[in-house]
């Protein structure tokens, strides 16, 4: 499925490029940064910037449909579960930094 024609297509392109840049930046940063806390901050870039941008691009392409609803649920779940996991991982790291 390609991008819709016209201005909507431009918006979809911009959102997809923004998402790609965010994911690339997060991955490069995670490779460069050494501590777990810093890496956890970079995961936020994926779940809170790239995921909503991707979801919006998909929603604009699919229109009002059950597919859009599924995309919104996926993005919402990704954004909602990430802080819980990051807190859990950070707590493990704080309690036992050597591990």
């Amino acid at each position: 499925m390609s991008a819709p024609p016209g201005a909507l297509g431009v918006v979809v392109w911009v959102l997809c490029v923004l998402s790609a840049l965010a994911v690339l930046g997060a991955a490069a940063g995670a490779l460069l940064l050494r501590t777990v806390a810093e890496r956890l901050h970079l995961v936020t870039l994926v779940t809170s910037v790239a995921a909503p941008a991707t979801g919006l691009a998909c929603a604009l392409t699919l229109g009002v449909s059950t597919g859009t609803a599924a995309v919104v649920v996926v993005v919402a779940l990704l954004a909602a579960t990430a802080p819980v996991l990051q807190t859990g991982i950070a707590r493990v790291e704080r309690e036992d930094p050597a591990e």
């Binding site: 790609a20 994911v23 995309v71 990704l78 050597a98």
Partner: protein, 84 residues
């Protein structure tokens, strides 16, 4: 050119390169942080591929993946805390 195919290519490269490195290197907690990053990228990849291929019915796959990766990572954190 399809923006979703371009994005899926970027996500695939990130997953196969830095993702695998982060999951396989460092301490157990660092690997777990890498696993979370890889899981988020995988969910995005599956979503974008479903839309790019024009198969919205396949969106159930990232929906299940995000739930399973959440539970799995939580189990890993509990396991690591138990090893103290």
């Amino acid at each position: 050119m399809n923006p979703f195919l371009l994005l899926s290519g970027v996500l695939l490269v990130v997953l196969a390169g830095p993702g695998l490195l982060l999951v396989g290197r460092g301490t157990a907690t660092a690997r777990l942080a890498g696993l979370q990053l890889a899981s988020a990228v995988t969910v995005l990849l599956l979503t974008v591929l479903s839309v790019a291929m024009g198969q919205p019915s396949l969106l159930i796959v990232p929906l299940v993946t995000v739930l399973l990766s959440f539970a799995g990572t939580l189990v890993f954190t509990r396991l690591l805390r138990g090893h103290r």
